[in-house]
Symmetry: C2
Subunit: 188 residues, 2 copies
Amino acid sequence: MVAERLNGINMESLNETIDLVRDNPDFAKFTFIARNQWITGTHNRATIQEFYQAGQKDLTRTEPLVFNEDEPPILLGKNKGANPVEFVLVGLSGCLTTSLVSQAAIKGIELKTVSSELEGNLDVRGFLGLSKEVRNGFESINVKFKIISDAPDEKIQELVDSAKQYSPVYDIITNKVPVSVNFERYSK
Amino acid sequence: MVAERLNGINMESLNETIDLVRDNPDFAKFTFIARNQWITGTHNRATIQEFYQAGQKDLTRTEPLVFNEDEPPILLGKNKGANPVEFVLVGLSGCLTTSLVSQAAIKGIELKTVSSELEGNLDVRGFLGLSKEVRNGFESINVKFKIISDAPDEKIQELVDSAKQYSPVYDIITNKVPVSVNFERYSK
């Protein structure tokens, strides 16, 4: 018999969700949304609130989540927020963690603590237009998990492998996503 | 003569940075860092503070920036924060905006307002292990800018193209970044 709740994951809800989506593949289709407003210079502000599942708006978040983005002074900003590439690391850290914890719950492995440190290496000569050989984005990212669990090493290694295998953000970063960018003018 | 400050970008500082990096390519090498601590279930918390430039720690941020990540109830969470894929959209929105604004400053184009809306389409059958054909990450992302500026349409189109061309996060998402994931056990 499967524990009702493991690692804080409600196994009954997880199994219900899996059954629901198996029977209704449209329920698996989500559209997540971010809005951004430029403030000045390298400072802008993003908001997250609603999203869509199978075309239906989810309104469970009653307040917008607001994120200031800016650069540090060495990159011409005023530290009004984390910078955009750091937000990518935030997303990757959270996604690998949730993926690892969920996989542990599915496999019946109890975790006591999970923490991680991520390093993203970036050469700004790309962004500054000083080199065409240097890419603009991260050249590499290193993730190091620290885990406390009674499970044996080989089970923890399996979990880390599963975390990569199922993580949406790991897929987004290690593979290619098509991005279309359009604009419209509007009157003052 | 170039304006001292355009779109909030200090052109003198920008040119100084470009000259500095051209003469000392090591100064272009940054390592950005995120730390993450699992709370319970799908809730975890990331922090951003220091980073390294040419091996030197930057300490201009005197406080850590803290980001709660969680899923909405339909994805087994409690809305304690935006979810990891939404953080990727936040980063992309900020990066394209900063890239666009900086390129406008370099080209001498004044912008009055810049806002954007991003949609990321994701099918959770990948994450739920229900389909091997469905990828885990975003299948596509659509970005729509709204811009007020006196510049002609073709100049705005050039700016949007430049924003894509120079944006680190656009590169990270539309191309592949190698990510290594390791773990260590530690004692209780």
